[in-house]
Structure formats: structure tokens, C-alpha cells
């Protein structure tokens, strides 16, 4: 079959990203032709500022060079401006007469800098700041002239001014408004910013309106203001805003208002013509930052690839000024109103200012100056619309103060030297991260994870990595969307949407899901398959098909794989209680199978480490103890103290309660491992405060805590309820766990789940609606009914092939 023809007009950041995404998912669908008016291939426009400042070279900022187009079979026309679209003949025509036919057309013509309509605007030395040519003109001028004036005290103007200053010019920034970056900063932050820039040698004239540009011999010589004042200028940079480049689209009769109007699938009013980037108006909004443009590019590619699932629904953006040594961050609404509350921290001597705006317990905006480490985190909370009610009192002190044992945010990214380690798990230093970001043109946390491995293991350095990303690429960095993020590259659907579909359409096997929900891949990937397997079993217990090939090896072999490929075996000891007989059998097995290490674990059980895979079924058989599920995303231990039975302080029999809980819920699979503990009195020797479910005996009954976590990020469990009887403990604990099983994303611990839905929601589900609580509990009991002990099954010979090696 003949390939369809795709033509792209405008070879900037948004368009090229759309092509990259398209080639990733449908490399063979189109013959692609690209027209770019600039003589350069695709480069990183936002890094023009570091180039101007002399911190990077043009070579450093290429994203896709000409080879990339050639390697991907794309016909590239550089320096050719398209002047006409013939929608009837479906072709485009360039200024030099070149023509190209299309089946699909993609417009990504970006925007044009706005030029003040004042006399003298045509003079030599009056320029805008948009592309490589402008940047080069400024660099040349800085070598020849002395006085620069930048009109416009926004992001772009300040970056231009800073660059020119670093190149040795005397720079004055002229701004119409009463303070700088008024669209992103409040007055306090802007004043602090202005002071630091003044320290760098910049001068400011605020509330000044330009009346005329005065020339001499055809070149700019001075700027005159409405109030009559005049200042010298040999170079005048206008950075007063941009206007979407819609001329071409308009002349072709495509509907435009502020930009080229597109729908949620990035189609213009002519459905074979798509548009992305700064040139479009989506739901009435024109975006001028890269992050939303990349989201558009992704959706557009998805539709061009004929998957037709993704939708672009608008973006929330954040801003970061790329002036080395100055940290400014802003996002969302910072003006406030009658229904908003402000939290402000202002240390004018220390040069730190932070303001958060909150409405209905959710962050709706933030402005930060001086210390922006938590910018990414606040932005994330804001985008996700997450409730901050419970962390409100320490919100301002940042993520590092939320009981984090890792090193997230403890160091300021900016203060770190290149050799300092950012990611402890993978041994990645700051320098490697910044290098990868620059050399490979990375914008998202995911990209950085893929290329450097930083933040890809335990995640405790995520904040720091985002910080480095933000300070390297400015507002262009794309924070991870935790709400709308698709499950993985195989689908556009989120975890929630997939779970809903599994329930609504009664899907009972992975192939059915992949088929019904139109996965892009024939059999998913190592990230979605284990999740799907769990979602199926959780939604349809006893009915859905469990697929061992979609379980991680630990659950397939029912033992924990260790670094050398051997396994560890942890038999279950309910409530931590064992007997001489069991200990004797353990000792015998250790001798017989020459198991190198025996260790008591943190969860008060015995771990046999270094067992060869082929020995596993026999080891289990001879132990004759139930599976401890120490390998699984399942209920692990119920830790107990000795309680009232032995302890002189104990007021409740915690050991028995632990045994009861463990007997009720063992064999239970979950989105992640689940740990419980029961203490006999508030002295809490079993450490119930950092467990997924912690129970503490008090005189009059039991207190139940949920969502604790002793892992990477220590989280203290939150109080849920106080009850009287053992039956109630089982019911509340079980109902909570079932809620988590039904609603959490795979690999979320309970704390992550609670953070997402909010403690209020959990209380509503469990306390305000006893019928719902009972129903949840009953669904859990039903799911666990007749669930087999996997070890017993394997001893009997099931899945024998898994454990036998072949030889030839």
C-alpha cells in the first residue's frame, strides 16, 4: 500500500516533538516532508538564553540535526517559507515555488515577537528576541556597542538583559508595569528579583512608556519616553510579547481567533489539517511555554498514528527564570481573592520568599524566590488537585520535612557541585544529569530517568532531579503528571480508566484487556502486564485468569530473587510465633540444602538466603510451613509485641490479635506489599506507627492507624478510628485494605493511595457508611476464600517446569 503523505510547516520545538512521538509509535505510516523558514534544523529555542549569556554554544542546543531527518527518511526543506496552502488540491507552496502535496498537514508555525508601533522601529539595531539569528545579532552587537536597552521586563526581556550584561554591555530594562514579571510574580518577589539583578549590574526603569526610538545615520541612538526622558541606546531589544503566527492558516481560510483554533485532538476546522504549538488557540488559550506544547505534540502524534485515544485538555503551567544564580518559580494563580488563603514565608535578609495560595484545601498557585527547591513539588500538588489539609502546617517547610529519610530536597540543586551525588541508588552525580539534559535535549523526569537512571529506583531524589531539570531548562520542564498519566507506553489510558473498563466490561484476561482497550503493543510490557494481572484478579476474584507470565519472577517462583540469581525463602510464622518443631525443621533444611545464610528479618521472621531455584519445591516441602509471601505484593507480616500475655505494661493481647489478623488476611495480593503490626499498649514496641495498618491496644480497646510506611520515605501512619472488639479491628482493617486493593494504582503503597484520595475520603468510605464498610470487608473475605497456599501447590507439582532446568 502506498504510504500517506504528511507535510509539516514550521520546524520548531512543538512540530519536531510531534514527529518524534509519531515515529515512536507509527514509524511506517507516512512519507514525511518538513518545511522550516529558518536555515537551521530543530534546536532548543529555550536555551538561546544560555547561549546569549555565553554559558552554552549553538552546537549544544541542537535537538535534531539534519542527520536525524535523513535517518528517519524525512524530506527536510530548510530556509523555505510556506506562503500558501491550497486546501482543494491539498498542497502547500513555498516562497521559492517549491510545492508539496499532502494527505495530512501539520501546522506548527510558532509565533512572532510583537513589535511596538512606535516611530523608529525600523532602525538598524532594533531587534526582537526569538531565534538564532536574533541571538547572533545580539552577540555581534555586544562586541561593538556599549548601551543596550531592553523593552519588556518579562521572562524573555530579563533573560536577554542578563545575557547582554554578561557580554559586557550597559543594560537598562524598560518596563511599562509597576513591577517585573507581573504576570508571574507578586510585588514582593519581583522587588527581590529586581534587587538581585541590580547587583548583577542591570538598571531598571519601571512604569515607563516608550514614545519614540531616536535614530542617527539609520541606526538607533536613543529611546524617548512619554514623560520626555531620553536614554542612550546602541542596541534596542523588544521583548514585549508574542503573537501566534496565524497568517498562513488564515489565508487558507482556517478559522483563527487568537491563534489557529483547534479541538482536543489538535485538529483545525479542516480535519486533515492539524496544528500544534504556540500558533494554536486551544479552548481559547494560547500557550507560550514548551511543556503544554509537548503535551499537544503527543496527542497530535497519537491521532496522526490513527490510535485516536489521547485528548489534550489544556495545561497548567509554571515558570522558572533561567538566570544563573537567581531562583524564581511561579505557577498558577498568585493574586488570590476573597475565597483564597495565603501562606507566606518571607525572610528578606536571607533573600527567601515563598507564597502559597490555597482554596478548598488545594494549592492554586505559588510564587517563590530564593529557595525554589519545593517548586516542583508544590506544582505537582497543584496539578493533581491534591488535598493538603493534612500536611498544611508543615507544607511551607517543604517535602523534606514530611518525614523523609531520603535526601530529597535537603540539598539545593543549585548549590551542588557537579561531582556531588544526586541519586544514591544508581550513583548518579549532578554533572551527569545536567550533561544528559543538555546533550540529549531532555525535558521530563521520565526522560532523565531513562537516560541517566537517576531517580529511577527508590525515587527519593526525585525532587532534586526535578529541581536540576527545572534550573537547566527553565519553565519548559514537564513535571510528571500523576493524575492523567497513562499506565505505560502501551496505552493512553490511565490506571483508573483501565480498572474501570475491566469492571464495566467484565474483562477476565490480559489478552481481552489488550484487545478491548486497543493497546498499542501485542502483549503489553513488563510494566503494564503485572498491573493488569492484579487489576483483573482484584476486580474478578475466582473468575479472572491469573497469568503467571505476567507476574514478576518473585511471584512466579514464590520466592524472592536475590542479586546473584538465587532465592530466599521466608516461611510464615503467624504473629511472629514459632515452635521448637518448626525451628528444628528449619535447621535441618538449612543443613541439607547447604543454605548459606539464615537471618532474622526486620519483620520478625526467619529468612533462608541463597537457595537454588531448583531446590525450592523440596525446601518448601521439607519445611512444611506455609508460604510467608515475603516475595509478593501481598500481606507480608503482622508484627507483634508480647502484649498483656507477658508484658507488665500490656493492656491487650497483641500477639493473639496479630495472629488473628494474619490468619484472616494471609494469601491476600495487593497493589504493593502490605505490612501490619499490633502493639499491646501505647509504648508501641511493634512499631505500629509506620505500618500500612497499625493497631495499638489501649485500656478500652484498640486504636487503628493506616498509611504508615517505614520504607524509602518514612511516613507516620494516620489515626483512623478507635474500636472496642477484635471483630471491629478485623472489619476496619479489612475494609481499608480492600478499598486500597480496589482503587490504588499498582505499585502504590497505602500512603501514596491515601495521599491521592485524601484521608477525608477514606473516612467517608469507612466510617460514615457502615454498610459500605461491611460490603468492602465481605468482598475481601470472598476474594480470600479457598485461596491456595502457593507453596503447597508447588510441592504437589504445579508449574514444575518453572523450577527444572534443561540440559543438552
Amino acid at each position: 500500500m502506498k504510504k500517506m503523505k504528511l507535510v509539516m510547516v514550521g520546524n520548531g520545538m512543538a512540530g519536531a516533538r510531534a514527529l518524534e512521538e509519531l515515529l515512536k509509535i507509527a514509524p511506517d505510516l507516512y512519507d514525511i516532508t518538513v518545511f522550516g523558514a529558518e536555515p537551521h534544523a530543530n534546536y532548543n529555542r529555550i536555551l538561546l538564553s544560555p547561549v546569549l549569556a555565553g554559558e552554552m554554544t549553538l552546537q549544544d542546543i541542537m535537538l535534531n540535526d539534519e542527520d536525524w531527518y535523513r535517518d528517519n527518511g524525512i524530506k527536510l526543506h530548510l530556509g523555505k517559507k510556506i506562503v500558501r496552502i491550497d486546501r482543494v488540491a491539498r498542497k502547500v507552496v513555498a516562497a521559492d515555488g517549491t510545492e508539496e502535496r499532502y494527505d495530512r498537514l501539520l501546522l506548527s508555525t510558532g509565533s512572532n515577537p510583537f513589535i511596538l508601533p512606535v516611530p523608529g522601529k525600523e532602525l538598524d539595531g532594533v531587534i526582537t528576541y526569538r531565534d538564532i539569528a536574533d541571538t547572533e545579532a545580539m552577540i555581534v552587537a555586544s562586541g561593538k556597542f556599549r548601551h543596550a536597552v531592553v523593552i519588556g521586563g518579562g521572562l524573555l526581556g530579563l533573560e536577554a538583559a542578563n545575557g547582554l550584561r554578561l557580554r559586557g554591555m550597559e543594560v537598562t530594562v524598560v518596563h511599562l508595569m509597576p513591577w517585573l514579571m507581573e504576570r508571574q510574580l507578586d510585588k514582593t518577589a519581583a522587588d527581590m528579583l529586581q534587587k538581585s539583578l541590580e547587583k548583577k549590574g542591570l538598571r531598571f526603569l519601571l512604569q515607563k512608556e516608550t514614545a519614540e526610538i531616536v535614530g542617527r545615520d539609520g541606526r538607533v541612538a536613543a529611546v524617548r519616553f512619554k514623560d520626555g526622558q531620553e536614554i542612550a541606546a546602541d542596541l534596542l531589544v523588544m521583548a514585549v510579547g508574542i503573537r501566534p503566527n496565524t497568517d498562513l492558516a488564515q489565508s487558507a481560510g482556517l478559522y483563527c481567533n487568537r491563534g489557529i483554533v483547534v479541538n482536543d485532538t489538535m485538529q483545525t476546522f479542516d480535519p486533515v489539517i492539524y496544528a500544534v504549538g504556540e500558533c494554536v488557540a486551544h479552548r481559547g488559550i494560547v500557550y507560550g511555554l514548551v511543556a503544554p506544547l509537548f503535551e499537544m505534540a503527543k496527542v497530535c502524534a497519537n491521532h496522526l498514528a490513527q490510535f485516536g485515544i489521547g485528548r489534550y485538555e489544556g495545561s497548567v503551567t509554571s515558570t522558572k527564570l533561567k538566570v544563573t544564580g537567581i531562583d524564581v518559580f511561579s505557577a498558577g494563580n498568585f493574586g488570590g481573592g476573597p475565597d483564597t488563603e495565603e501562606i507566606v514565608l518571607h525572610d528578606s535578609v536571607g533573600g527567601i520568599y515563598k507564597k502559597l495560595l490555597i482554596r478548598d484545601n488545594r494549592i492554586i498557585g505559588s510564587v517563590m524566590y530564593g529557595d525554589t527547591v519545593d517548586g516542583a513539588w508544590f506544582f505537582q500538588l497543584m496539578r493533581d488537585g491534591q488535598s493538603v489539609a493534612e500536611i498544611r502546617d508543615h507544607l511551607m517547610f517543604g517535602q523534606a520535612h514530611l518525614g523523609n529519610a531520603g535526601h530529597q530536597g535537603q540539598n539545593k540543586a543549585a548549590a551542588m557541585s557537579d561531582i556531588m551525588e544526586v541519586c544514591g541508588c544508581n550513583g548518579v552525580a549532578k554533572g551527569s544529569i545536567t550533561r544528559a539534559i543538555k546533550e540529549k535535549g531532555l525535558f521530563t523526569l521520565d526522560d532523565v530517568r531513562k537516560h541517566t537512571k537517576a531517580s529511577s529506583s527508590c525515587g527519593s531524589c526525585t525532587g532534586l532531579v526535578e529541581q536540576i531539570l527545572a534550573s537547566t531548562v527553565g519553565g519548559a520542564y514537564t513535571p510528571q503528571a500523576t493524575v492523567t498519566k497513562p499506565m505505560c507506553g502501551c496505552t493512553e489510558l490511565t490506571h483508573e480508566e483501565v480498572r474501570k473498563a475491566i469492571r464495566a466490561q467484565k474483562l477476565l484476561s490480559i489478552p481481552r484487556v489488550i484487545d478491548a482497550l486497543e493497546w498499542h503493543t501485542p502483549n503489553g510490557c513488563a510494566s503494564c502486564r503485572p498491573a493488569l494481572n492484579f487489576y483483573l484478579i482484584a476486580a474478578w476474584p475466582h473468575q479472572a485468569e491469573d497469568d503467571p507470565q505476567s507476574r514478576f519472577i518473585n511471584e512466579r517462583a514464590h520466592a524472592n530473587i536475590q542479586k546473584d540469581g538465587t532465592y530466599s525463602v521466608v516461611p510464615r510464622m503467624f504473629g511472629g510465633v514459632t515452635t521448637a518443631g518448626e525451628l528444628r525443621r528449619i535447621a535441618d533444611v538449612v543443613d541439607k540444602y547447604k543454605i548459606p545464610t539464615v537471618k532474622v528479618t526486620g519483620g520478625q521472621r526467619i529468612d533462608l538466603l541463597g537457595v537454588r531455584k531448583e531446590d525450592l519445591p523440596r525446601v518448601w516441602g521439607e519445611l512444611d510451613m506455609p508460604s510467608g509471601h515475603a516475595y509478593a505484593k501481598a500481606l507480608r507480616t503482622v508484627k507483634t509485641c508480647v502484649g498483656s500475655e507477658w508484658c507488665r505494661f500490656g493492656v491487650q493481647d497483641s500477639t493473639q490479635m496479630g495472629i488473628d489478623l494474619e490468619k484472616a488476611f494471609w494469601k491476600m495480593y495487593a497493589p504493593h506489599k502490605v505490612k501490619m503490626a499490633v502493639s499491646g499498649c501505647p509504648r508501641n514496641c511493634a512499631e505500629s506507627g509506620i505500618k500500612d495498618v497499625g493497631v495499638i491496644g489501649v485500656d478500652s480497646g484498640w486504636e487503628i492507624y493506616i498509611g504508615g510506611n517505614g520504607g524509602i520515605k518514612t511516613e507516620v501512619a494516620q489515626f483512623l478510628v478507635k474500636v472496642k472488639t477484635k471483630e471491629e479491628v478485623l472489619e476496619y482493617a479489612g475494609a481499608f485494605i480492600q478499598l486500597y486493593r480496589e482503587e490504588a494504582r499498582y505499585l502504590d503503597r497505602t500512603v501514596h493511595y491515601i495521599q491521592r484520595v485524601g484521608m477525608d475520603y477514606i473516612r467517608k468510605q469507612l466510617m460514615e457508611d457502615p454498610a459500605n464498610r461491611k460490603a468492602l470487608y465481605e468482598r475481601l473475605i470472598f476474594a480470600l476464600q479457598d485461596e491456595k497456599d502457593p507453596w503447597v501447590e508447588r510441592i504437589k507439582g504445579s508449574a514444575a517446569h518453572e523450577f527444572e532446568e534443561l540440559s543438552i
Partner: protein, 108 residues
Amino acid sequence: MNDVSTVAQWRRVCPLSEIPRLGARVVRTAHGNVAVFRNDTDEVFALRDHCPHKGGPLSQGIVFGRHVACPLHNWTIRLEDGKAVAPDEGCAATFPVKVEAGEVYLQI
């Protein structure tokens, strides 16, 4: 005359049906362990059972399409040529493998 010992030979491994779809079996050989994979279209592949990253047993990973994800740190390795999928770099040795009359043969 051929020096028989240097000529690789096809050796029978097992019936195809004994390798699970989207799974693998470990074959012990004189040259170390080899992982023989079968995907959902019944293609078979053989790789040294040793991840180029830190030596993880690839046979224990999750198989999808023509890939396997290493069970230790989740690198993705291509089954056809043993290469790690970008941006990771590295390679696991491959061995010729074929299916004839429902039996899997490995050349080694």
C-alpha cells in the same frame, strides 16, 4: 576432514510446548546457562542467561513482543540480537535456535 569438535551442532532441547508462551526455560550447557524464550507467536530465541547490566538471569524476566525485561533492574533486552534497548547499552550473546516438528533445537 572436518574437525568435529569445532563445528557447532544442532542439539535438541525440549518440545516447544514445554516452554511457556511469553516465558523461558533455562538450558544448562558446557558454555554456561542459556535462556530459551518463546513469545506469543511461538517464535523462539536463545540468549546467554546473563544480563549485560549486572548479570541478572534473563530467563526469569517478563517477556513481551520480542523483548525481555531483566528481573533485577528492569533493563529491556531485545530477544533477536541480545541488545539492550536504548538508552541502555550492552549486549547478551545470542545462539541460533529453531523449531522443527514441534521440537526446539539449539546450536552451540
